[in-house]
Symmetry: C2
C-alpha cells in the first residue's frame, strides 16, 4: 500500500478537474482511491508516502502512433522531400538493416526516451513485433504491438499472409502478458490489397482487436486511390468493412467534409501526429473540425525518422497550438482536452479505456509527476495549462507503470531497463557506422 501526495492531481476523469492536496492510494498495480491527503494518511497510517510538493500528477501518456525501431534512423533523412526521404534513405536503409537486433536496439532507445518523457504505453507498427514487445517488457512499459500487414516481403517474412500468421502466433504466446496488447496494423491503402484488408476486417471482428492504418497522409495518396480504385482511401476502407469504433486513422491530414462525416458516423479515432506531418510537408490536419464533428483524437509522435523526437508532451503542445493557429480560434483544443487526448483518448483507442488513461480507482496505476516549481513554470495559475503550454518533458521527475516506479529523479529506475539501455547505447556507434556505410557514396551522412 502506498500513497502519492502531489500538490495537484489532474485525474482526467472527471473532466477538466484539478484536485489540490489530494493523494492517490495504490495497492499493488492498481489505484484504490483518490482522496484528500489528510484523509488518506488517516485511512492508511502505515502506507509509504511519496510527497511531491510543487508537482502535478497526471495519468501516464499514451503515444498513439510510433515505429520504435526507427530511432536508429533518427536524423538519417532530414530536410528531404517525402519521396526522396523514402526512396533514397528510409527504404534502402531498412532493406539493408532490418533484423531482430536492429528492431530490439531501436526499440530500447525509444522506450528509454518515452519513459523519461512520461509515456507509459505506446502503439507501434513495425517488423519483428516480438522484439518490440520484448523491449517494452524489459524496459517496464506497456505496448500495443502492431501485427504488420503489407504486401511486400522483408527479412521478417514473405508478405501479408506470413506477417499475419507470425503476428497471431506472437499474440498467442503473449496472451498472459498484461502489459502487451495487439492491434492489426495494415500499413496504408497504397501498400495493402483489398484481399488483405478484408482478412484484417474479419480478424478484427473475430478477435476484437483494434485496427490501425496510415490514411490520407498526403494528397498523392488520395489522387492515386481515386485513379486506381475510383474512390478516396477512407471510402475504400469503409467499403471493405474496416471502419468502426476500433479503427485508428493514423495522420488523417487531408479530410474533406465527406471524410469527416464518414469518420464521425463510424465512430473511428484519429491518431494525430503533427510534427511528422509538418516535417514531411504532408500538411496540417484539420483537428479543430475533427473535434467539432465529435471524432475522438489521440496523439502520436510517429517514428523518430520523421519527427525526430518521441516526446508526447511536445507533440501535444504543438497539436493544441496548431489547432488554434490553423482554425483561427484561440479557444480550440484547450489544455484540459489536450491532456485528455494524450491519455484517455489514446487508451480508449487501444481498447484499454477501462484500465488506463485516468486516475480513477480500479484502474492501473500508470502515473506521471511533473515538477512545476522551476523558474520557467512559475507562477502556477492553472497547473494543466502550465503543463501543456509551459512545461518541458524534462520536468517529469517520476513515472509509475502498474504501480511500479520506472522513472525516479528524472532517471530510469528499473535495474533491467538501465542495463538494457547501457548495452544499446554502447552499440549505437556500430549502428551509426553500418548506416553510413549502407548509403551510396553520394548520399553519405556525416556526423561520425
Amino acid at each position: 500500500m502506498k500513497l502519492i501526495a502531489p500538490q495537484w492531481i489532474a485525474p482526467v476523469e472527471p473532466a477538466a478537474t484539478v484536485l489540490h492536496d489530494h493523494a492517490v492510494a495504490i495497492e499493488g498495480e492498481r489505484i484504490v482511491a483518490v482522496l484528500p491527503a489528510q484523509q488518506a494518511r488517516q485511512a492508511w497510517p502505515d502506507a509509504a508516502v511519496t510527497e511531491l510538493p510543487g508537482h502535478l500528477l497526471v495519468p501516464g501518456f499514451v503515444n498513439l502512433h510510433t515505429h520504435v525501431p526507427m530511432t536508429l534512423l533518427r536524423g538519417a533523412g532530414d530536410d528531404l522531400p517525402l519521396e526522396r526521404w523514402l526512396r533514397e534513405r528510409i527504404w534502402p536503409l531498412e532493406a539493408a538493416l532490418i533484423s531482430p537486433e536492429f528492431v530490439a536496439d531501436g526499440a530500447v532507445l525509444a522506450c528509454a526516451e518515452m519513459l523519461l518523457g512520461g509515456v507509459t504505453c505506446f502503439s507501434d507498427m513495425y517488423f519483428y513485433p516480438e522484439e518490440v514487445a520484448r523491449a517494452a517488457l524489459d524496459m517496464g512499459m506497456r505496448a500495443a504491438v502492431g501485427i504488420i500487414v503489407i504486401e511486400f516481403g522483408s527479412p521478417y517474412g514473405s508478405g501479408a499472409a506470413e506477417y499475419i500468421r507470425k503476428g497471431l502466433e506472437l499474440r498467442d504466446q503473449l496472451r498472459d502478458e498484461p502489459r502487451i496488447r495487439f492491434t492489426l496494423a495494415p500499413h496504408a491503402p497504397y501498400t495493402v490489397s483489398d484481399d488483405s484488408f478484408r482478412r484484417v476486417a474479419s480478424l478484427a471482428a473475430e478477435l476484437a482487436m483494434p485496427v490501425q492504418c496510415h490514411v490520407h497522409e498526403t494528397l498523392t495518396e488520395i489522387s492515386d486511390s481515386l485513379a486506381q480504385h475510383g474512390k478516396r482511401p477512407l471510402q475504400r476502407l469503409a467499403d471493405l468493412g474496416l471502419l468502426g469504433p476500433d479503427f485508428i486513422a493514423i495522420h488523417a491530414v487531408h479530410l474533406d467534409d465527406a471524410d469527416l462525416a464518414l469518420l464521425a458516423r463510424q465512430g473511428a479515432v484519429v491518431a494525430h501526429c503533427p510534427h511528422s506531418n509538418l516535417k514531411l510537408a504532408s500538411g496540417i490536419a484539420p483537428t479543430a473540425r475533427m473535434r467539432a464533428a465529435g471524432i475522438p483524437v489521440g496523439i502520436g509522435t510517429d517514428g523518430a525518422a520523421s519527427n525526430n523526437r518521441l516526446d508526447l508532451l511536445a507533440e501535444a503542445r504543438t497539436a493544441s497550438l496548431l489547432a488554434k493557429g490553423s482554425s483561427g480560434d484561440a479557444t480550440a483544443w484547450p489544455a484540459h482536452e489536450t491532456l485528455h487526448a494524450m491519455t484517455l483518448a489514446g487508451a480508449r483507442a487501444l481498447g484499454l479505456g477501462d484500465q488506463l488513461g485516468s486516475i480513477t480507482p480500479g484502474k492501473q496505476a500508470d502515473l506521471v509527476a511533473i515538477d512545476l516549481s522551476e523558474a520557467r513554470t512559475l507562477p502556477v495559475f492553472e497547473p494543466v495549462a502550465q503543463l501543456v503550454y509551459g512545461a518541458g518533458s524534462d520536468q517529469i521527475t517520476a513515472v509509475w507503470v502498474a504501480g511500479k516506479v520506472v522513472v525516479h529523479e528524472r532517471q530510469l529506475a528499473g535495474q533491467q531497463a538501465v542495463s538494457r539501455l547501457g548495452e544499446v547505447v554502447a552499440r549505437t556507434r556500430l549502428w551509426h557506422n553500418r548506416i553510413v556505410e549502407t548509403l551510396p557514396a553520394g548520399l553519405r551522412l556525416s556526423g561520425a
Copy 2:
C-alpha cells in the same frame, strides 16, 4: 586564455559547416581562433581546456522578440480569444501591477529561463526598461532594451513623449555597458500616432538605432488600418520613413505579395514568433515565401503570457517545421539555416552582426554547448539537424557570455544570478496571490 574542445562545432560562419575535433580559443571576452584541437593544444599548452565529448558547440542564441516581465503573467490567460485575452486579463493585470518591482522580478525569471535554454542575448519591449537592463546585467546576459513608444499613459510615464525622453536618458546612462544596447520600440501601428512614428524615424536615423514594431499580427489590425489610414500598416510605416535595414517587423503574420516586396526592397528584417502566433490564433506567417524573397528572418519567443515558454530552440524547431508543413515543401528552412536564424540573423537585426552570432575570431565568446550523447539524440548523423529537430533545450549543459561561464552542468553558474533568482522565486507566491486578487471574482484563476 582558454580552450573549449567539443566533438563538433557549428560556427554558422562559414555557412552550413560542421567542424569535427576542433577547439575554440578564447582570450578574455573574445574568440581568438577556431582550429583543430590538437593544433590548439600545441599552440597554447598552458591554456585551460574544457573537454566536451558528445557535445555540439554553437553560437549563443538571440531571442529577437520578447517582453521579459510578462513571465509573471505566464498562464494567466490561456485558451482565450485574443480580444478577451487582452481586455479581460493582460491589460487589467498590467494596469494594476506594472511597477519597477514587477518588471525586475519578471525579468529575472525570464533571464534564468533563457540562459538555461542557451539564449545569450534578447530583444525586449516593455515599460521600465532600466529594470530589464539591470536584470540582464545581474544575470550575466546581453539585452537589446526597447525604448517603448505608445500613446497611452502608465505608471511608467504619461505617454510617447515621456517614454522616449526616459528611454534616451537611460541609453545615455548605460552608454558604457557593452552588454546593453537599445532599440526604438514603437508598440504597434494601432497604438502609435503618425507624429510619434515620425519622431521615431528621425531618432533612428540620428542615433543609428534599430526600430522594432509589432506589425501585421492580425487581420483586424490590417482592416482597421485600411479603414482609418486608407493603407495597410506596413505601407503606412514605409510612408512615414520607418522601413529600412534597421527595421524589425515583429510577427508579420499576414503579408500579401506587395507587403513581401516592400519588406524585401527595404531590406527589413522579420522577427518570427510562431508559438505566439499559433496560440493567439493570429495565423501562420509565410516564412517560406519571406525567405524566398530574400527577407532576413530571425526568431523570437514573444512574452511568456502568449507562448508560454522562452525556449528559443523549441521556437526554432516549430519555425522550421511550420515552414515545411504550411508551404508543402519538406526542404523549406533546413536545419543549418534554422541555426543561422537563431543566431546570426538575430544579431544582425540588432546591429550586432560584427560582434555576435557566429563562432568567428574577433567576435564575442557567446557560446552554447549541447550534449547530444543522450539516448534521445543517438545516433548522431548530422549534429545541427539533431540539434534543431531532435534535441531539447535541457540538453544544453554549458553557456558562455563574453567568455564567462554563465551556465555550468545545466545550472546557473554566476553567484549573483543564483542569488537574484533565489530572491525572485521566493517572491513568486506573493505575485501569484496579487495577480489572482486583481482579477474580478468571475475571472479568478485557480492554481494556488
